[in-house]
C-alpha cells in the first residue's frame, strides 16, 4: 500500500516536471477570434498593433523583469531582453505614442485578468491553460 502511494507520488512529480517544461503560449479572452503568427505577435508585443479583431485596442500584460516565462516569450517573439524592452518602451512612452504593458506578478493573475477582460492578452505556460482563456498563438 505504502509503495503504491509512493509510486503515485513519483508519477505525479514526473507529470508535474513534464508539464512545467511545456512551452509558453499567448492567451486571450475566450470570445477573441484573433489568431497570431510570430510576426503579428511581435507587432502586438512591440505596441505596433493598434486594434484587435473586436475593434478595441489590446491591453497587453507582461510578467515582471527577470521572470523566466517572460524571457522565454520574448526570446521567441520579440528577440529583446528586459533592458532592450525597457529602452524600447521608453521611446514610445516619452513620445506619447504608447503605454507600456501592464505588469502582473504571476500567471494566475494573468489568467484572471485575461479571462475577465476581452481586450487583455497575456502569456502563460501551456500547462496552465484551461477553459477560462483561449490560446491565440503558440510561438
Amino acid at each position: 500500500m505504502r509503495l503504491n502511494i509512493l509510486k503515485i507520488m513519483i508519477f505525479g512529480l514526473v507529470c508535474m516536471t513534464i508539464t512545467a517544461n511545456a512551452a509558453v503560449v499567448l492567451v486571450g479572452h475566450p470570445s477573441l477570434s484573433d489568431s497570431f503568427t510570430t510576426s503579428t505577435a511581435k507587432k502586438l508585443y512591440l505596441g505596433k498593433l493598434k486594434k484587435l479583431s473586436n475593434g478595441q485596442p489590446p491591453n497587453l500584460i507582461e510578467l515582471p523583469a527577470g521572470n523566466k516565462l517572460k524571457a522565454e516569450f520574448h526570446q521567441k517573439v520579440t528577440n529583446k531582453d528586459d533592458a532592450k524592452l525597457k529602452s524600447y518602451w521608453s521611446r514610445l512612452v516619452f513620445t506619447g505614442k504608447g503605454r507600456a504593458p501592464n505588469v502582473l506578478t504571476s500567471s494566475a493573475l494573468v489568467k484572471a485578468e485575461v479571462s475577465s477582460n476581452p481586450n487583455s492578452i497575456g502569456y502563460i505556460d501551456e500547462s496552465e491553460v484551461d477553459s477560462s482563456v483561449k490560446v491565440i498563438f503558440k510561438p
Binding site: S39, K50, A83, S90, F94, G96, N117
Partner: protein, 396 residues
C-alpha cells in the same frame, strides 16, 4: 439555577458555532473565496482604470565630463569636471481625457540651461476611429529620427546623440499641429506624418528670430528589423535685420535615416542637409552608429562628420569664420545596472577641421561691425579636442 442552565446552554451554543462552520461544505467556502477574489479583482480593475487616466513618467540623466582643452565641444572644458552639460531631468504627464483623446505635458530641466524649468511639450492628441492621429499645441519638431526622445538618454546607447547631426542649430520644438497615420500590409508598417507651425527661435550670436510657415513631412517604412525614413521641412526665418541686414530668409531641411535593430545589433545612420538663403551656412551632416548587446553590456562606435557646403559664398569673410568642417568619433559602452538604470562611458574625439572653426564654441569670436551688429569670426585656436564623459540614465 435556571440562570446557570441558560449560561451552560449558551456556552454550549457558542461552542457549537465553530462546529457548525466546520460542517459547512468545502464548496460553500470555495464559493465565498471566489466571491472575495471577484470583488478584489473588480477593485483592482477600477483602481487601474483611475491610474490609467493619469500617467506620470519621468527620466533623468546625470552626466559628468571633462575635455583635454577649452574648445568647449559639447560644452566641456579642461579645467573642471562638469556635471551640467549633459544632465537633464524630465517629467511627463499624460491625461486620458477619453478613450481617444489625451493631453500631454512634459517639463524639462537642463543642466546646460542652468536647470531652468521649461515646458517642453504641451499638446492635445486625438485619435480618430480610422486611425488618424491629430496633435496640436507645443510640440517636438520631429525632424530627426530620434527627435521625439532625444532628451531620454535611457532610450539610446550613447551618451549624446551625434552633435554633427543633432546640434547644428535646427530648432527643437514648435507651436502648431501635426497629423499622422500608420498603416500596415504584410510585414511592412508605413508611418506618414505632416506638421505645420511656427515659433520664436534663437540663432547663433544670441539673436532671436521668428520661424514662420514651418511645413514638414516625415515618412517611415518598417520591415522586420529595418526602418527607413525620409524627412523634409521648410520654414522662413524673419527678424534678423540687426545682424544680417536681410529681413527674411528661407530655410530647408532634408534627412534620410536608417535603423537596424534585431535585439543584438543596433545600427543607425542619418544623412541630413540644411539649406538657408544667403550667407548663412548650408550644411551636410552624417553619422553611422554600431552597437552590440552582450546581454546587458553594449559597446558602441559612432562615426560622424559635419561640413558647410556653400563656403564660396563667404569668401569675403576673414578666417573662414562661418565655415565648418570636422570629423568626430565616439567610442563607449553602456551597462544595464538595473532594468531602468543604465551607466555609460564615452570618449569622443573631434578633429580634421581643415582651417574652420569646427563649430567649437572655443573658436568663436565676434567682431563689431562699423554699421552696428557683430560678425562671428574664427579664432582658429583649437584644431582638435577629446571629451571624456560618464553618464547615468534612469527612467521612472
Amino acid at each position: 439555577m435556571n440562570k446557570i442552565k441558560i449560561l451552560a446552554l449558551s456556552t454550549l451554543g457558542l461552542a457549537m458555532i465553530p462546529n457548525a462552520f466546520a460542517q459547512t461544505t468545502q464548496e460553500q467556502r470555495v464559493k465565498q473565496l471566489e466571491r472575495k477574489v471577484e470583488a478584489l479583482q473588480e477593485q483592482q480593475i477600477s483602481a487601474k482604470s483611475l491610474a490609467d487616466k493619469i500617467n506620470f513618467s519621468g527620466f533623468a540623466t546625470i552626466a559628468v565630463g571633462i575635455a583635454d582643452n577649452d574648445a568647449q565641444f559639447s560644452g566641456y572644458t579642461d579645467d573642471k569636471l562638469d556635471f551640467k552639460q549633459d544632465s537633464v531631468f524630465g517629467l511627463q504627464t499624460d491625461f486620458e481625457i477619453n478613450d481617444s483623446t489625451k493631453a500631454t505635458l512634459q517639463l524639462l530641466s537642463r543642466g546646460s540651461d542652468d536647470w531652468k524649468l521649461n515646458l517642453q511639450w504641451a499638446f492635445l492628441a486625438h485619435e480618430f476611429d480610422n486611425g488618424i492621429v491629430l496633435k496640436g499645441g507645443k510640440l517636438q519638431l520631429p525632424i530627426y529620427m530620434i527627435s521625439d526622445f532625444i532628451e531620454v538618454g535611457y532610450a539610446y546607447p550613447y551618451i549624446r546623440p551625434t552633435l554633427d547631426v543633432y546640434d547644428i542649430g535646427v530648432p527643437k520644438s514648435y507651436i502648431g499641429g501635426d497629423i499622422s497615420y500608420s498603416f500596415d500590409f504584410d510585414d511592412f508598417i508605413i508611418n506618414a506624418q505632416a506638421y505645420y507651425g511656427n515659433d520664436r527661435i534663437e540663432v547663433p550670436g544670441g539673436v532671436e528670430a521668428e520661424m514662420e510657415n514651418l511645413v514638414g513631412l516625415k515618412l517611415n517604412l518598417e520591415w522586420e528589423s529595418f526602418t527607413f525614413g525620409l524627412s523634409k521641412a521648410s520654414a522662413s526665418v524673419s527678424g534678423l535685420q540687426s545682424s544680417t541686414g536681410i529681413s527674411e530668409l528661407d530655410a530647408g531641411f532634408t534627412g534620410f535615416n536608417f535603423m537596424f535593430d534585431n535585439g543584438e545589433w543596433l545600427i543607425t545612420s542619418e544623412v541630413t542637409f540644411t539649406d538657408i538663403d544667403g550667407m548663412m551656412p548650408d550644411s551636410k551632416s552624417s553619422y553611422v552608429m554600431f552597437s552590440y548587446n552582450f546581454s546587458g553590456i553594449s559597446p558602441y562606435v559612432a562615426l560622424s562628420s559635419l561640413e558647410t557646403t556653400d563656403n564660396e559664398k563667404r569668401l569675403m569673410l576673414p578666417n573662414n569664420s562661418l565655415d565648418i568642417d570636422r570629423s568626430v568619433i565616439s567610442v563607449g559602452v553602456r551597462y544595464e545596472l538595473m532594468t531602468n538604470v543604465a551607466l555609460k562611458f564615452d570618449w569622443t574625439n573631434a578633429d580634421k577641421l581643415k582651417g574652420t572653426s569646427g563649430r567649437f564654441p572655443g573658436n568663436q569670436g565676434y567682431m563689431a561691425l562699423p554699421q552696428g551688429g557683430v560678425l562671428p569670426v574664427n579664432t582658429g585656436e583649437f584644431t582638435e579636442t577629446n571629451v571624456y564623459s560618464i553618464a547615468v540614465d534612469v527612467i521612472f
